[in-house]
């Protein structure tokens, strides 16, 4: 409760949550406000924005409604961003826990694998993975998670290395608890807060990578995505720049919202911890 009130006192956090709430509302309301297929032709091509009430943000080269695309694109962006971040954090913290808790050879092996993944840029890794596995929502999520799990893994491992020397772990061993249970039930939950602090950065990165993949035509072809809309508008950038600018602004606002909200949460909970 105190965390919440502290959160509401920080203007950045409030702005971040407002932006996120807006995006979430767009994603949730998309099928209600725009029940038609957003990929279907809805009017004359290249209608400029704010000209008719029917197409407030205009239409693209093929006559598809930009506002409907924006709403449906929010679904894809948020779904991919959240799913990829969740997958990266779950996989990363499990691998980091295993490495930190097992120690020795297992730790060495897992951390060298982590190093190997970290040396490859996340975007190239995602690009390569989607090119091989084919573009679909699940492969895009997996591709993004593939480049993002190393951060959570390293932080979880570092936390676990310090936690496992604590008396409560010795206490759990004295009681006769199985090492796997000690790792997952006693140690991991206590290592999570700093790992979760990374989540806003990962979500923001995932939204951007998804947009970049779609821009290159490697997104799920059956879904509207903001990256895909920007790419679509690129061919008519001189005559109809709004087609790229509008989804671009949506992208910027989403990433900004995720980042501000995440920072706000981290700071509010850090303040609570230092007062406790």
């Amino acid at each position: 409760m105190k965390t919440l009130s502290r959160l509401l006192r920080s203007p950045e956090a409030v702005a971040g949550f407002a932006l996120l709430a807006g995006m979430a509302a767009m994603a949730l309301l998309a099928p209600l406000l725009f029940p038609a297929d957003p990929l279907a032709i809805a009017g004359p091509p290249l209608t400029p924005p704010f000209e008719t009430w029917q197409h407030v943000f205009g239409t693209d080269r093929l006559g598809r409604d930009v506002l409907a695309g924006l709403f449906h694109g929010a679904r894809t962006s948020l779904a991919v961003g959240l799913a990829a971040a969740a997958a990266a954090i779950v996989a990363g913290s499990l691998i980091g826990t295993a490495a930190g808790f097992a120690g020795g050879l297992a730790d060495e092996a897992l951390m060298r694998v982590t190093d190997a993944f970290q040396t490859v840029p996340a975007f190239l890794l995602a690009l390569a993975f989607v090119s091989v596995a084919g573009p679909s929502l699940t492969t895009v999520v997996a591709a993004i998670a593939l480049g993002a799990w190393t951060g959570p893994a390293r932080i979880a491992r570092a936390e676990i290395l310090s936690l496992r020397e604590r008396d409560f772990v010795a206490g759990a061993r004295v009681v006769g608890m199985h090492p796997v249970e000690i790792a997952l039930r006693e140690v991991l939950p206590n290592a999570l807060p700093p790992v979760l602090a990374l989540s806003s950065v990962i979500v923001a990165g995932a939204v951007l990578i998804e947009a970049s993949l779609s821009f290159l035509g490697l997104g799920d072809p059956n879904r509207v995505t903001w990256g895909g809309m920007i790419a679509e508008g690129r061919t008519v950038l001189r005559s109809a720049p709004f087609l790229s600018i509008i989804p671009g602004i949506a992208l910027v606002l989403t990433v900004l919202g995720v980042y501000l909200a995440g920072e706000g949460v981290v700071e509010a909970s850090a303040a609570r911890r230092s007062f406790a």
Partner: protein, 265 residues
């Protein structure tokens, strides 16, 4: 003396950090009989806590033998080691650090019952109630988190956890040192009561020679990783033979009133 409950012979443990070596245990021989209180006293860094942790199989010794109730403890690993752990338990110095910071009192006491399959699933809440009553805690505490209760209450929960499995040996590693004097006396009375009723042997690690003299049956003095002297508590403290024993008694006499009752008549 019949065969001891726990016997350690020639225990050695050297910690290495880079080039540095520190021989925490340099050949410890120790025996604890069923139902007795053996106090372990010694200066800081003499190996008391390392010895406690080796006896609890939390740290692997480099050499030596360890027998508990006739079993070769060092030969046990995995599930067989976890199973025998119900018979020897430990209470740590800092009761806050010894529990998962997120745990509730109920969970702390439920775990040993569940792990060692004591009582049926439906009976365990009553068992927990009985344990709380046994250590003098109100049943209303069971839903509280460990950090929400007082230090004395925490140490009572730690004792309840230690006796939950009906152990024959409990190692008390400075278990009352962090408590204030009145709480300390209550906890010592509780421990003595549990020992009488359940015939638990204690390895009582302490700095407090007055407390040791009043509560322990025997005392072992440890210095630089070796047991230098063992003897009946009152006799040893009245007339220590080893240099370290003499030094500890001399140091305790300089602080006559700090630890409650006056140290020597």
């Amino acid at each position: 003396m019949k065969s001891p409950l726990l016997s350690a012979t020639g225990l050695q443990k050297t910690f290495r950090r880079g080039e540095n070596r520190f021989a925490a245990l340099a050949g410890v021989d120790l025996e604890i009989a069923a139902g007795e209180t053996l106090a372990l006293v010694g200066p800081s860094g003499s190996g008391k806590s390392t010895l406690a942790r080796v006896l609890m199989r939390l740290i692997e010794p480099d050499a030596g033998a360890l027998r508990f109730a006739g079993e070769n403890l060092l030969a046990l690993t995995g599930s067989r080691l976890r199973a025998i752990r119900s018979r020897f338990q430990m209470v740590f110095q800092d009761p806050l650090a010894a529990f998962n910071p997120r745990a509730t009192v109920e969970r702390v006491l439920y775990d040993p019952l569940r792990i060692h399959r004591i009582a049926g699933r439906g009976e365990r809440p009553q068992r927990i109630g009985a344990l709380l009553e046994r250590v003098g805690l109100a049943d209303t505490l069971r839903g509280r988190r460990i950090h929400e209760i007082s230090g004395g209450q925490r140490q009572r929960v730690a004792i309840a956890r230690a006796i939950a499995t009906g152990p024959e040996l409990v190692v008390l590693d400075e278990a009352v040192s962090a408590l204030d004097v009145s709480v300390r006396a209550e906890i010592m009375a509780l421990l003595a009561c549990l020992q009488r009723e359940q015939n638990i042997a204690y390895l009582f690690i302490s700095h407090d020679l007055a407390l040791v003299r009043d509560t322990a049956h025997r005392v072992a003095v440890i210095d630089q990783g070796r047991i230098v002297e063992t003897g009946e508590a009152k006799r040893l403290i009245a007339a220590p033979a080893s240099a370290m024993g003499k030094a500890l008694v001399a140091a305790a006499m300089k602080l006559p009133r700090r630890n409650g009752p006056e140290f020597l008549p």
